[in-house]
Every structure is written in C-alpha cells, then in structure tokens.
C-alpha cells in the first residue's frame, strides 16, 4: 500500500491530508524525517517479517476458530485445581468488569477523576480484610505465587533473618516462585515435612527446624493436597515462639467455612483471588492477595494501598487516594519495598463485586456446596477398584489427592483427558508417582461426578 488514501480504524491521522498538515507544524517534510534522530546503521531498513493486517472480521474468525481447539467446559469436564479452580463467575461480575470506565483507565494518579476505581479498590481492601481477619490488604499483586514470594521477602526484611521454612505440602507453583524471588536476597529455603497419613504439617519437624535465623514459616491452609490444618493456631504459636513470622497462603473460598488467618495469628496472609469471580483464563490474569495483620507491618508491604480521606474543601464527603506511596518504586526507587507498578486492579474490582454479590449468606452457602460436593465425589471415587480416595486422612475442603494401586498418574491423567475429563494432575514430586489431585466445586453436578467416576474406572 502506498501513502495515498490510507485508512485504519485505530489511526485517525493516517490520511495524507492530516499527515501533511501535522508535519508542517512539526517542521518536518516526511514521516521518515521524524526518525532522523535514529542513527542510520540502527534503522531496520526493511519491512517487519509479519503478515499484513487483517480486517476485524477475518482476524476474529481465524482466532476464534483457533481457540475452539481448546477443550474447555461445558463440552469437557474440568476437575483440575492446584491454585486455579473452576468456579462460577456470576453474570453481574462480568458486566461490572466489562465497564470500559474500569478497564480502559489506568492507575489512579489523578484522584479527582478516578474516585470510581479508588473506591472499588478500597472496598476490595475492606472486604478482604474481613475475609482474612487482617488489618491491611493491598490493592493486588500479580498472583498467589508472586504474592507468596513477596511475603517471604518481606519476612526476611522485617526480621533481618535469612532462612524461610516452607511446608512440604506447599503447591509446587508457589514453591518455585518463592525460590526465584528470595534467592537474590541470599535467603535459603528449608522444607518442613508433612505427616504422610494426614497430609498436615509435621509439628515435630517444624519444632526441629525453627531456629534464630528463621524469618518465617510459609504454610498453606488448605494446603496443596486440599487438607485443612487441624490446629493452625498451634503452628503459628510455635513459629512466633522463635521470633519468626507466620505467613499463611489461602484459597479465599475456603474462608467461607474455615477460620481466617487473622484468627489463628498469622502475620501475613496471601492467596489466589481467582475463584472470586475471575475466569481461569489458562493461567491469568488472576489476583494476588496480600494482607498484613497490622498497620505497622503494612508500612513494609509491597503494592498499592488506597486510603479513605475527604476533599480538601468538603470535610463531610468521602474521597479516596493512594497512600503510603513512599514504600513504592516511583518514589523510593532502589529503596522501595518492591518493584511492582502495574498490578491486577481490574481483578480486585471483580473480587469486590463477587464478594458483595454472594454476600454473607451466599458465600457461606457456596462453601457448604463446595465441601459437600467434594466429599460426595471423593466417596464416589473410593468405590472404584484400584483407587484410594481420598489418599490423605486429614479433613479436606474442595481438593483431595487420589492414589492408584496399579496405574501411573501420568497415564491416568492422559487417559481421562482423552475421555473428555480433565482431572488428576500428577502429584508425583510431593506424594508419589501413582497419585493425582482432584478438585470439585459448585460447578460440578452429580452427573458430572458420575462421568468422572466412569472415566476413572476405565483409566486405572
């Protein structure tokens, strides 16, 4: 295409008339002249080796066709978990997050024209504080794993100690990211065993490993196996006894029935906000939850915080603004608590609208449905020959490990997928080569569980 009569829906000034007039004001003769400050030997000097642009229709048609190769619900059943879980996203949540006012704006640097997202994020902080039993929640990090990484770094910073203990029942995704995040600080990680029968954290091993150089224990509740710690308060008091911090990683849906981290004394709570109205989206965008038990700790927190204030000239009216910005990179630069800038705000708005829709009653009912469905499913699978379900004796919430007497986990996982059932992601590193993780939530019907059971009976 030559310069004449060019048009593109995203480029309002592409036509020669506009270009000519605008170049005159700039004092340049051609568009190429605008790039005369780039040394010649650095210019590309050829067209990019990419296809030419397509029409909206043709691109949409092609990409939708490609996406349809993905096997997803409702045609495929998904019982996968491990840190991303299938939950229902209410239509009203999608409606709210589809508001262009929310999704085409950016970080609320100008508070007066950004009260909408500021208040929504403040509501998110308040709701999450209630749910977690914490006093300060930031307005989001990238995901659970990076929030866990930031939490362990923060524990190192606050205590001045260089070792972190990790539950052996921690999800491999969190474990991997914590390692990447903490290694450059010179922190070392040590694993605390779990009880092979119950799947819970081994108290005795924790006692042995606590010492004066331990900055924190990071533990998940429910843990990677879906198992609930039976006395998290005791774990936390052991940790506090050695002057370390307790960092709890949670699935927020479980807090409908299970005690909140603040109630058992955790200093920092992190978690994955994805089940709060955010689609699984093949891995993201999700929502890293990060909260601290008090304002003192909040001052060492990473991430943006929104505070309540008023307009200068109207003391009766609420207004919201970003606060404690001196912790952040744009002010403190190399002294900042973290480098985080762009976060997951829209996902926090989703979570705030989700929690307010479900509300006190709906959220509790959701928890009851989830725990009942998962127990129903675990029991149903236990009737299959060659299957132990659940593998661990500890109480569980919505996920559980199933082990196979004969079959290898990889083989079962593959066979199930061929039958249109996504379930049993292998847990070989943590449990053994003949076990997989299953997740059952409110989206699964009795019929779905029967289909899972039938497929598993053939796969083992």
């Amino acid at each position: 295409m030559s310069g004449a009569s060019r048009r593109h829906p995203f480029l309002p000034n592409l036509d020669d008339d506009f270009v000519g007039r605008m170049l005159r004001r700039v004092g340049a003769a051609t568009l190429d002249d605008l790039f005369s400050d780039i040394p010649r030997d650095m210019k590309l000097g050829r067209a990019l080796r990419l296809p030419e642009g397509g029409s909206e229709y043709s691109v949409r048609r092609e990409i939708q066709a490609r996406l349809r190769q993905n096997k997803t619900p409702p045609e495929t059943l998904c019982f996968l978990g491990g840190g991303v879980w299938p939950h229902y996203v209410p239509a009203a949540v999608e409606s709210i997050t589809s508001r262009q006012e929310f999704y085409t704006s950016y970080t609320p640097y100008q508070a007066e024209v950004s009260q909408g997202v500021l208040q929504a994020l403040f509501e998110y902080q308040s709701l999450m504080c209630d749910l977690l039993g914490m006093e300060a929640c930031n307005s989001s990090l990238y995901d659970w794993a990076s929030a866990a990484g930031e939490a362990v770094r923060m524990a190192g910073r606050v205590t001045g100690r260089s070792k972190a203990l990790l539950g052996g029942n921690t999800g491999p995704q969190r474990r991997g990211v914590i390692k990447t995040y903490t290694e450059p600080m010179g922190m070392t990680l040590e694993t605390v065993d779990f009880d092979r029968a119950t799947g819970r954290t081994d108290r005795e091993d924790l006692r042995r490993k606590l010492s004066e150089d331990v900055a924190c224990l990071y533990f998940e509740n429910p843990n990677y196996f879906g198992v609930i710690e039976d006395d998290a308060a005791e774990l936390v008091s052991l940790v506090h006894g050695s002057g370390a911090l307790a960092v709890a990683g949670v699935d927020p849906i479980s807090l409908s029935l299970i005690r909140e981290p603040g109630a058992y004394g955790a200093d920092i709570a992190v978690g994955e906000g994805q089940p709060l109205g955010i689609p699984m989206n093949y891995g993201g965008p999700h929502l890293g939850i990060f909260a601290a038990k008090d304002i003192k700790l909040a001052r060492s927190m990473p991430g943006r915080l929104i505070g309540l204030t008023t307009p200068v000239a109207d003391q009766q009216r609420k207004a919201f603004a970003m606060v404690l910005q001196a912790r952040e990179q744009h002010i403190r630069r190399e002294g900042a608590m973290s480098n985080v800038c762009t976060n997951q705000s829209l996902m926090a708005v989703a979570a705030a609208s989700y929690l307010s829709l479900l509300g006190k009653e709906g959220f509790r009912r959701l928890g009851e449905t989830v725990i009942a469905n998962s127990h129903f499913a675990a029991k149903r699978l236990s009737r299959i020959d060659g299957v132990v379900s659940p593998h661990f004796k500890g109480s569980f919430f919505k996920e559980f490990v199933v082990s196979y007497k004969e079959a290898k986990a990889e083989s079962v996982f593959g066979k199930l997928a061929k039958r249109g059932v996504l379930a049993g992601s292998p847990t070989h590193r943590e449990v053994g080569s003949q076990s997989g993780l299953y997740c059952v939530t409110e989206v699964h019907t009795r019929d779905d569980v029967e289909k899972l059971a039938a497929a598993l009976a053939e796969a083992v």
């Binding site: 605008l34 990419l50 929640c137 990211v177 965008p285 006190k360």
Partner: protein, 491 residues
C-alpha cells in the same frame, strides 16, 4: 472549550448499603448431595471452623448500581484523551474483548494437558515469534505479568549468566537518572547495587560517562530508549559497546517501544535482554492499574536463562517447556497473563507489518505535533527544543511557582481531559510528560494544546481559581489520607 461535568454520586460504601436478609447471587446446590451432608460445617475440624463471616448483604441490582455509579466516576480512554506520559494510553480494540471473552479462553485451566489447549498454545507461539521479530531478540518468555516483573526477570538472567561466566563479583547495575522507578527497584530486588548515571544537558546519556562509571564491578546497565524525556538516545550503540567492553550486559526497558515499531530494534542496537509492556505498545487494556503483561526477551546468548515456561513447537504439537537448561526459574504461578497475551496477538494481527510501522509513525507525529502546538513561552521544553521527540514530550510549567504542574494538571481535568504525567522524570522542574499516542485525532490534539495554553494564561493572570471543580470530588486531601491512615472500613 466544551463544558464538562463528571458524575458525582456521593456513593455509600457497600457495607453502608447492606441490610440483613439480602443476597445478590444464587448458589447451586444438589438436593441429593445436601441431604447426605446435612451439616457441611462438621466436615471442618472443630478448632478450624469459622466463627463469623462479615460480608455485606445486597440484591443483585444494588450491587450493579453501586459499581456502575463508581464506574461513572472514573475517567477512561474511551471517554476522553488520556495522554499520561510513559503509560501509552492508546485505544484498546473492542474485538479483542469479544474474542477474549469466549468460553474456549476463559474456561481453560493452566494444568490441562497440552494436547487439549493447542489453540491458545499456537497463539502463544505465534505471538512469541512476532515479538522476537519486532524486537530483534532470539526468544521471548511470555510468563511475566507486568513490565516490572519482566525487568526483574531480565536482571536475574543477567545475574545468573554472569555468575556462570566468572562474573559473580559484578554487583553493580548502571541506571540513568531519567529511568522509571521500576528500574532501580528491580535491580535492587535482584540483589544489585544501583549506580546512577546522570544524563547530560541535552537529556541523553553519554557513552563517555558510562565508561567512567563502568568497572570490573559492573554487571550491566538498564537503558530506556527512547528515554523518559521522549528522546532517542543518540549514543545507544556506543553505550552498549562501553558496557560490553567492561564485561557487563545491556538491558532494554521496552516501555517506550511504541515509538520504534518497524523502525528500529533493540536487538540491532546491541541489547542482550529486554521486556515489552503489552498493555502499552500492544493495546491491551490497563484495567484501572492492571493487569498487564511484560514478556521478557533475550538474544541467543541469554535465551537459555529465560523464566519458565516458554512455548515450544514440536512434532507432536505445541507445549509449555519448563525444562529450559539455565532458567532463572518461574516468576508467576501459571503460564502468564494469558488473556492479555491473546489480546496483544490480536492487535498484532489487526495491524500487521506495515500497520505496526504506521502506529509508531503516527504516535511520534502526534507527540511532536502536540508539543509544537504548546506555547513555548509557557511550557518550555525540558531539553533542547531542536531535537525531535519520539513517543512523548516533556515540558516544564514556566515560572518558579512550586506546585504549578499539579495545578495545570488539575485544571485540565475540569475540561474532560486527563492530565499528563506530572513531576516525572524527577530531573525536570515542574514536569508535564505528555504522550498522546497514535489514537488521538488531529483536532483533539489541537483542543488539548489550546486547553493547556489557556490554562497557563489564566494561571499567570491569577484567574484560574480553585481547580478542579467539575470532577466527581474537588481536590482530594492526600495529606489527610495518610494522617490518620484508614486502609479499610470496620463494620
């Protein structure tokens, strides 16, 4: 100037709207299963049962009204011009939202076997190839969730590469004083000491200065091109050479890549590792602060150090490769911000090779045009006015009045337009950093420039009055926001 009044609802907090006995969504429940588990709470160990749950109680319509009202008090790209410098607030194509909302995307679980997600994996693969071609890098990892996470990945890669090549004593990273705050913060997170490189009177970094500051302690340098002043760094190649000669590596901050699409590539300038901000250059929505995506790219030399997973194409099809030989490890739990990556790929396909080049031409044209439309007496250029600008221009608000940039910013909000970035870069006095992007029509650029010129005249003449006054709330008390500090509401 047209009149503007932003919606102002004085909207209560959710919890003030709550009344016991309401619910906003119906939760499924199977009668057979619930008859079998009559007391589901008993499945939780007694010591771990939640004592009380404090969430608001509202109907579905109440929740919708609440958030819709809030949304009306939020300025956005689809409402008006949003020339926030360094943020590239361009148009976000609607069709990307439509495609990304399909069940085939939303319902995919990141642990699915690769053969069940060939659709999205093939898109990842093509995106990764396209980004490599656009930047001249060998390979990208799409896993990092935002620009700052891409930076962290990049400097960790440099650190690991050096450690494996006898350079573990190299613990300093050079960062120009004009750099985004994320650069020094990322370097510090990766365990480096930050050495500040002063920019010269013309706003650029000189290779001679970099040479002076480089030593056997230098791990490398983070360099933003064009820089945050909107200037192409004329000595970029010599700077790369200087750092390489000292034994260090070069990191390219791709935040401002919108200026260079199809024109120049960091890989050809001598950079070893870089990130892109897909929410800036590749038109994915900024989401009120996020999500973004910050893929990290590397030349062949450093490609094995990329964060996992990376996308692989083999005979059996596409898959995620976690086994990269020298990887720094994962930085995100699962894959990446996939739905953001999908949107960026759609954008690349909608523009194509010449369209992307047009994007940078139009972005640079708009930035220079708007800058030249400002009264240079009121808004003197931060640096040499004879130099071309790239994606953005930085000006000062003339006069020594402290706070004048903030006043100008608040005044333009009153006209239904977003303010430029203010007080950044830190090296510019009363800075306004203006990045109009390629999305604004000529007449909108005229209107914006006229508004700024008019505001300055009023400011100088003492006729501006209290600003802002047409926004949802008047000037927000940011001091009070921290004293006392209220981060949540108690209920």
């Amino acid at each position: 100037m047209r009149k503007y009044t932003q919606a102002s609802w004085d909207e209560p907090l959710l919890k003030e709207l709550s009344r016991p006995g309401r619910v906003g969504n119906s939760v499924p429940s199977d009668p057979v299963i619930s008859s079998r588990f009559k007391d589901p709470l008993s499945l939780v160990p007694q010591s771990m049962r939640r004592a009380s749950l404090n969430l608001p109680e509202l109907s579905e319509l109440q929740v919708l009204r609440h958030f819709n009202r809030l949304s009306q008090m939020n300025f956005s790209v689809e409402l008006g011009m949003y020339p926030l410098g360094s943020c590239t607030m361009k148009y976000n194509p609607k069709v990307s939202e439509m495609i990304a909302s399909s069940d085939a995307m939303k319902g995919a679980h990141p642990l699915q076997p690769p053969e069940t997600v060939q659709g999205i994996l093939s898109i990842f693969y093509d995106l990764e190839r396209a980004l490599s071609e656009i930047t001249g890098m060998h390979r990208f990892s799409l896993s990092t969730a935002a620009g700052a996470q891409g930076e962290l990945a990049g400097v960790l890669m440099m650190r690991k590469y050096l450690a494996e090549h006898g350079g573990s004593a190299r613990d300093e990273i050079l960062v120009p004083d004009s750099a985004h705050g994320t650069n020094p913060a990322s370097a510090a997170m990766a365990g480096f000491k930050v050495v500040k490189v002063p920019s010269e009177a013309d706003g650029q970094v000189r290779a001679s200065r970099v040479k002076e500051l480089s030593s056997e302690k230098t791990a490398g340098m983070m360099f933003t091109v064009p820089n945050t002043l909107g200037l192409f760094e004329g000595e970029v190649k010599e700077v790369c050479d200087a750092v390489h000669e000292a034994g260090g590596l070069m990191y390219y901050d791709g935040a401002n890549m919108n200026a260079l699409l199809g024109r120049a590539r960091p890989g050809d300038m001598g950079f070893d590792v870089m990130h892109l901000n897909l929410h800036k250059t590749f038109a994915t929505p900024h989401g009120g602060g996020g999500p973004g995506a910050g893929p990290v790219g590397a030349t062949r030399k450093l490609a094995d150090y990329l964060p996992v997973p990376v996308v692989a194409k083999r005979k059996a099809g596409y898959s995620l490769d976690y086994g990269l030989k020298r990887t720094i490890g994962p930085l995100k739990g699962f894959v990446g911000n996939s739905a953001v990556l999908l949107r960026a790929y759609i954008y690349i396909r909608l523009l194509g090779a010449s369209g992307l080049r047009d994007v940078s031409s139009m972005a640079v044209l708009a930035a220079n045009y708007l800058w030249k439309s400002l009264d240079p007496e009121s808004f003197p250029a931060s640096h040499d006015a004879k130099l071309l600008r790239k994606h953005e221009a930085v000006v000062s608000v003339k006069g020594e009045l402290p706070g004048s940039a903030m006043t100008v910013a608040k005044a333009i909000l009153d006209l239904g337009m977003h303010a430029p970035t203010v007080y950044f870069p830190l090296i510019v006095h009363e800075a306004l950093m203006i990045e109009p992007t390629e999305s604004e029509p000529e007449e909108m650029l005229d209107e914006y420039a006229a508004a700024l010129n008019d505001i300055y005249a009023k400011l100088k003449g003492g006729a501006l009055g209290q600003v802002p006054k047409n926004t949802s709330v008047g000037k927000v008390d940011e001091v009070k926001a921290s004293h006392p500090l209220t981060l949540r509401i108690h209920w």
